[in-house]
């Protein structure tokens, strides 16, 4: 077999890999087929990797290159495997963020290598006119997007791990500094693309320095972009960084001339973009607004405090247990507070008891009930909640009218009816779970403290609502005991 035939076979393997990625993602459309889908996608990955390895072996590989290949893969793969096996489901957002970081960085390294080691800067310095402007565009886009993703995701991950505080961190003049970094990076890019297109001519060392300057700006920009963003906005940030990584990988595909990188990058970019939009609209905020940051710290959100008025009705554990045990339809509304209190198993135990009494139980999951899109579903699945009981917002909202008891645990802003009715509320227009339409409501909550938006929840003073003041985990344990005793 000659070299060009092998080259074509490798290309065909790449197409097969790309096709398997698409088929795998398609099977993610149902929990019943999703696991198979992921395995099909992994098969595509193995085919592409094996093909590339065979290709470079056939081209002749020195000992040093073998060491790089196997050593790098063993080290990275080993660490990745270890993290994947040990990570707690509550820490999933950190891990996804970390994988975003390394994926983006690897993509940026491909472009850096192409520019520094191969003929990139020498070609540019020669001022070859025409299409090398495009190549420069892909190189610089890959370097900038990949670097922003790298540092941005590391900061997001550190925030989620609690290594640095989750609250918005605002530095005086920080926003202007962030914008200046972006402007600087873009200006350098334009100069380099012009050089690539042969419009202007620079020495190769100058061009290398320019690229390193853009790299530095992008790395710092990633940090200053994510630092001011609060913990509860993380679902949007992670989705956006996921889209960035995909784009960086696609750009890397253009740079190294590999179609499977382009396809995979485009798929990930599309996925990240869809999730970013979904998360932003579930929070009723524009992406720009979140990136500007500091929701909790913003002025004006305190204006409506104390306007809810009305009285709060407290309910005892025994009364709540009776209400639940004699209902025919119960909807549980879990929020991130449930995960923080590690009460997923408690809620499932209660649901089992109620189901054993013939009660129809389901869970109403708001899109942002967690630290990444869909996070709450994974946490409940881990606690053995069967997935047919996990209902999306649009699916469950019409059912609240037929619900006897809605049990709210650890959720606040996403149940606030002010989002539907009060035009002056900062969360007005945010899609919420229509908990107040249930015949009665029980809210398990430690205190009357406010949620992320820093506003009062009109649900708590609704005459239908009984407040059960307790820590989510202990409150549920007591409810379980009380229902058992009935």
């Amino acid at each position: 077999m000659n070299a060009s035939t092998i080259g074509h076979l490798v290309q065909l393997s790449f197409i097969a890999g790309a096709a398997l990625f698409v088929i795998g993602l398609h099977l993610m459309n149902s929990p019943a087929t999703a696991r198979t889908g992921n395995r099909i996608s992994a098969t595509g990955m193995v085919i592409a990797i094996v093909a590339e390895v065979l290709f470079v072996i056939q081209g002749g590989l020195g000992l040093g290159n073998w060491v790089l290949l196997i050593g790098g893969l063993a080290l990275g793969g080993g660490l990745g495997l270890r993290m994947a096996r040990t990570v707690a489901m509550t820490s999933m957002p950190q891990l996804v963020s970390l994988f975003n970081a390394v994926g983006g960085a690897a993509a940026a390294l491909l472009a850096l290598n192409d520019f520094i080691a191969l003929d990139g800067h020498r070609v540019l310095a020669g001022g070859v006119p025409g299409l090398d402007g495009w190549r420069t565009l892909f190189i610089i886009a890959d370097v900038i997007i990949g670097s922003v993703t790298f540092t941005g995701s590391l900061i997001a991950s550190a925030k989620l791990m609690g290594r640095i505080k989750g609250q918005p961190i605002l530095i005086p003049g920080g926003r202007i500094f962030t914008w200046l970094l972006l402007v600087a990076a873009l200006s350098v890019s334009i100069v380099m693309i012009l050089a690539g297109a042969g419009v202007v001519t620079y020495d190769s060392h100058v061009l290398t320095l320019l690229l390193l300057a853009a790299l530095a700006c992008a790395l710092i920009f990633g940090v200053t972009m994510v630092l001011p963003i609060g913990g509860a906005d993380m679902p949007v940030v992670i989705s956006l960084l996921n889209a960035f990584t995909g784009t960086a990988v696609a750009m890397a595909g253009f740079v190294v001339g590999n179609v499977v990188l382009i396809v995979a990058g485009a798929l990930v970019g599309a996925s990240g973009a869809i999730l970013t939009r979904l998360m932003a609209s579930a929070m009723n905020r524009s992406i720009a607004n979140i990136l500007v940051g500091g929701f909790g710290a913003a002025e004006g959100t305190q204006a409506t405090l104390g306007s809810a008025g009305g009285t709060v009705r407290e309910v005892s554990v025994d009364d709540a247990a009776i209400q639940l045990a004699y209902a025919s339809k119960v909807v549980i509304v879990p929020g991130y507070g449930l995960a923080v209190a590690q009460a997923q198993h408690g809620v499932r135990e209660l649901a089992d008891l109620l189901e054993a009494r013939g009660i129809d139980v389901s869970y109403a999951i708001h899109p942002v009930a967690g630290r990444m899109p869909g996070h709450m579903n994974v946490l409940l699945a881990e606690a053995n909640v069967p997935y047919p009981q996990l209902k999306e917002m649009d699916e469950i909202n019409p059912e609240f009218e037929r619900t006897d008891v809605a049990l709210v645990v650890g959720a606040n802003d996403v149940t606030n009816p002010a989002a539907r009715t009060d035009r002056s509320s900062p969360i007005f227009g945010m899609p919420i779970l229509d908990v107040d339409k249930a015949r009665s409501v029980i809210v398990v909550k430690r205190s009357m403290g406010r949620g992320y938006a820093g506003i009062d929840n009109a649900l708590y003073v609704n005459p239908k609502t009984g407040m059960l003041f307790a820590d989510a985990k202990r409150g549920l344990q007591e409810l379980v005991a009380a229902v058992k005793a009935l």
Binding site: M28, P31, N65, L75, A106, N242, V249, A266, V268
Partner: protein, 104 residues
């Protein structure tokens, strides 16, 4: 980069984005976390680029770049697929215990 290659690559890029939107819009919100971690592993395909890099590295600088790229992309691929599988096996139609009883 020739015009032909550029046009061919751009065609693939645009069509793949449209295909991605079409396929991913059908994924239910219940599975958004596994979806994200699954697409996460897909972008580990940069490993293919990193392998090419490791194969051509011939001085200390490119050697370091290649090694880091291999390690990063390797962690991305292996960790990403493993953790996605770990999550997806938890999604069950019926609770684990009662499924066992139903089978017997």
């Amino acid at each position: 980069m020739t015009t032909d290659v550029l046009i061919a690559d751009l065609t693939v890029f645009v069509l793949a984005i449209l295909l991605g939107f079409e396929v991913i819009s059908r994924v239910p919100a219940t599975l958004h976390t596994p979806l994200m971690s699954g697409t996460n592993s897909i972008h580990g395909i940069v490993l293919v680029g990193a392998i090419g890099l490791a194969a051509t590295a011939d001085d200390p600088l490119t050697g370091v770049l290649a090694f880091v790229a291999m390690a990063f992309a390797g962690a991305n691929v292996v960790g990403g697929y493993w953790v996605t599988d770990r999550m997806l096996q938890m999604f069950k139609r019926r609770p684990a215990a009662s499924t066992d009883k139903a089978v017997r």
